[in-house]
Amino acid sequence: MAGNDLTRLRAHEMAAALRAGDVSARELLEASLARIRATDRPLHAWASLDEDGARDAAKAADRRLAAARGAGQEALAALPGLLGIPVALKDLVVTRGLPSTAGSRILGGFVGPYDAHIAERLAEAGAIVPGKTNMDEFAMGSSTEHSAWGPTSNPWDLTRVPGGSSGGSAAAVASYHVPLGIGTDTGGSIRQPAALCGVVGLKPTYGRVSRYGIIAFASSLDQIGPFGRDTRDAATLLQAIAGRDERDSTSAPIPVPDWSTELAANDDEAAGWLRGARIGLPRQYFVKGMEPGVEARVREAVAALESAGAIIVEVDLPHTDYGLATYYIIAPAEASANLARYDGVRFGYSEHEGDVLGNYLATRGRGFGAEVKRRIMLGTYALSAGYYDAFYLKAQKVRTLIKADFDAAFASVDALVAPTSPTVAFPLGARLDDPVAMYLSDACTLPVNIAGLPGLSVPCGLSDRLPVGLQFIGRAWDEGTLFHLGRAYEAITADAGWRRLDPADLGALEDPATPTPAERMAAHA
């Protein structure tokens, strides 16, 4: 197969080709690396590459494949689904011997001495990690503009953001650098960039994936999840990283189903899953600042689900409006403590100016970016004596109410369907001076984190030639229903014209004259 063609394959297609002996893991990796080298300058999806480590892993994968091929069909079938498949890691997954910066200057030069749980799991599964992807600093942001290493562009329109905070992984998957990527989602950081880049992204149930080795933003909200170019691929990746880990006391001892096998390859069979499925449509998710084009695509998608046999029920989630305020108290409060360890004493960026306090002020003053400082201050304020009850404690009470909203809705429906983001990708720099406008990007996603539920975003068409995301929200531990819905929606829209469209600016990525996102930002300013 030609190199360029290889990068177009989805993960399950790569897996089949590897088993058939049509391609080697080494060839898949080299195709991926060649494409990254050729196109990443104007995109800036990657924070760092580990070409040597990836080549070693690819060789090992090829040896496993050869051994299994020699041992017969059963041995081949028993191989992990991710064996030999390139997977991007967000730059907050700690891996031994490689940089992990979380998009922050304060972690410049930090090389982890251990592997995150998911890095171990991916290595066991034989996945190949070419490198780590760009992100908003400490995952705080919805545009990937808040990276100390410069912003990332959206391959559908390089003047626009890819969403965030996991914008690097979303852009890398959308630009055919890799078929799969890892993101983290605290308030929408997987689903929103998936929507804005036209790929599939899932935020699992809180506790589904171990957070051990994931640089923390907000501990009670952070979850790790997959990006893919279709639902089956995303399910395969989640399956590889999910499950109880003794090192994360909040990871749940709940069995992980074999989702990838459950999901039908055949479109008719997959679409059949919709017949009689009860899907709730929350009224409160279609308000305030939603772009008409986005609402139109989402309503069309809901109509398509209904015509395929789903029962659509309007539901109320009455406390939705309080989600944003609740989130912007709890998340910064936890972050203000989680980020206290970056003090220049043991690792990373360190400034020495006078006494202990002087060192702290210089290190943290210059090591953190403006958005991170804003959230540390918000969180510190919300936890301060005299304000704790009015802010943090009240937010926890509202959190309970928001959970109760979802519980009530799930008494009558199997899942909810909603927009992922109220808008399509916005121009680089457009919301940098207006934090609240930026925070509103996550209005439809962050209630799901507050309630600890799983949420899936799948592409549902274009508005102004930019991707729109459709969000499915499920009961706790019911990622399976979301995968079935996503797969069914793909099946009933398999012939849609927009599915055949590539990101519009893919061609420009290969032009050396195309400016980098940082240059675009500088010009904009």
């Binding site: 251990y114 080795g213 640089i215 994360d248 006391s249 909040t250 360890r341 043991r346 690792f347």
Partner: protein, 496 residues
């Protein structure tokens, strides 16, 4: 103020109000939230560390079950209540010895609350309320040094980071330095009995801080308090608090205004000194630790811990008095030293028929004399003592197989070397000969060799009898039992 009060000594016009906070390192194999060893005493700096206790990015805590059990056991032992569920909280502050920038501690739901402890003082028994006991992690250790270039540097040793700590806080119920010392001593005995901690103050395994304030006798409002630290022995706890009471009383008596501050105890100079003045209260911004789920202490778990508790010091003293017939003083001395308690128990277990008082005399006398003689608390002078062997020795004395004087010699050798008592007795040839057959032969030889003395005895001269006994003892190298020799002599001379 009346004339009488004004004329009274300054200290007598005030009542001291003292509360004690004690941190103890728990005796677990691994640290509070990671798998690192707690055996850090002689470890090279930073050799007992991992990504978790270094606070590296991405790491998460996992609760040490054993540490929780030790605090629950302590709570049960002090009659505290345990909440149905408990949780951890983050205590936020910046310092280089605190790698995460917060300490995982417990704020409003401690593992134990509202307990109490009773102890004896020179004025009789005192009961102190214990407000709470909670579980937290220790900080790293800072070492201030000068580097090769002569610059002052601060080094951090993270071996101590994440060691499990129990903090025990009393109500402000104590009134004197002696009460504070006795409370700390009694708590230490309790913790040793439970096996919760080795609680060695000089090793930093038990750190005592006192809050001291004064108020005019007969009033209820609290005065301005100071927090006293750096008390590294029980004796310094008593001395430091006594000094602080005196200092505050003198200041108040002179019309001075006290400031709320932290004061250090200088043991050499015998004074407290200002360490840090608290201008406003610290805001630690406590909030529930989101990385740890709440912990449920269910009934079955608590019952199992309760069932596993050993005999506690108070109950042991009562048993020694009521069942073994020991004096309150002997009971207090025996229970007051865990080594003595162990030796006493082992001796009685090995020789159940012995009189407890006889064993107690040996332990409170010879054992403690040797144990304490080798340096305070170390017990090196009695390091070889095996309680069962002491039992054997007391048995030999009771049976008349060895003299009391020789027994002390045997014990001293055993205490150093640990050799079995019987072997020492044999080696030194100290066994008393009380066997009639063996003695009669020797006596007959002595009588045959000393006809003059025999005649004197028959004539009623008592001194001559003593001479003959002495000759028998000489012939047996002191091993003959004198009373038996006396009786046999009279028998052989036909005097009975």
């Amino acid at each position: 103020m009346g004339a009488a009060a004004a004329g009274a000594p300054v200290a007598a016009r005030y009542e001291a109000v003292i509360g004690i906070e004690i941190h103890v390192q728990l005796k677990t194999a691994s640290k509070m939230f990671c798998g690192c060893s707690t055996d850090i005493k002689d470890a090279a700096p930073n050799s007992r560390t991992c990504p978790v206790c270094l606070g590296l990015p991405g790491t998460l805590p996992v609760i040490n079950r054993r540490a929780v059990e030790l605090v629950l056991a302590t709570g049960i032992a002090i009659g505290a209540t345990t909440p149905e569920f408990t949780r951890w909280d983050r205590k936020n502050y910046f310092y280089p010895d605190l790698p995460k920038g917060y300490q995982i501690s417990q704020y409003d739901l401690p593992l134990a609350a509202n307990g109490h402890l009773t102890f004896d003082t020179s004025d009789g028994p005192v009961t102190v309320g214990i407000r709470r006991a909670h579980l937290e992690e220790d900080t790293a250790r800072l070492i201030h040094a000068t580097d090769a270039a002569g610059r002052r540097v601060s080094l951090v040793d993270f071996n101590r980071s994440g060691m499990p700590l129990m903090e025990i806080v009393t109500e402000p119920d104590l009134r004197t330095g002696e009460q504070a010392r006795r409370y700390a001593e009694e708590l230490r005995l309790l913790l040793l009995a439970i096996g919760a901690s080795d609680a060695a103050m000089e090793e930093g395994q038990m750190r005592v801080e006192a809050n001291v304030s004064l108020r005019p006798v007969g009033t209820d409002a609290f005065g301005t308090r100071t927090e006293v630290k750096n008390m590294n022995s029980f004796r310094s706890v008593e001395r430091a608090i006594a000094f602080e009471i005196e200092r505050q009383a003198r200041a108040l008596g002179a019309g001075e205004v006290l400031v709320q501050e932290t004061r250090g105890w200088d043991d050499d100079r015998g004074i407290t000194y200002t360490m840090r003045i608290k201008e406003d209260s610290d805001d630690y911004r406590y909030f529930p630790e989101p990385d740890l789920p709440p912990l449920r202490a269910d009934r079955a778990w608590l019952d199992a811990i309760r069932a596993g508790l050993p005999e506690l010091p108070a109950a042991r003293r009562a048993r020694y008095r009521d069942e073994l017939g020991l004096s309150a003083y002997d009971a207090a001395v025996l229970v007051g030293d865990p080594g003595a308690t162990a030796v006493f128990e082992a001796a009685l277990a090995a020789e159940p028929g012995l009189a407890p008082k006889a064993v107690a005399n040996w332990v409170t006398g010879e054992y403690l004399r040797l144990a304490k003689g080798a340096g305070e608390g170390s017990g090196a002078g009695a390091s070889g003592v095996d309680g069962a062997q002491l039992g054997r020795l007391v048995r030999l004395v009771a049976d008349g197989a060895i003299s009391g004087t020789n027994a002390k010699q045997v014990f001293e050798r055993h205490a150093l070397s640990g050799e079995p008592v019987d072997e020492i007795v044999a080696d030194l040839g100290l066994a008393q000969i009380s066997d009639r057959g063996a003695l009669i032969g020797i006596i007959d030889e002595v009588l045959a060799a000393n006809p003059g003395a025999v005649a004197d005895v028959r004539a009623g001269k008592g001194q001559a009898s003593g001479f003959l006994v002495g000759q028998v003892m000489k012939a047996t190298r002191g091993q003959a039992q004198a009373s038996v020799v006396q009786a046999l002599l009279r028998e052989r001379l036909g005097l009975d």
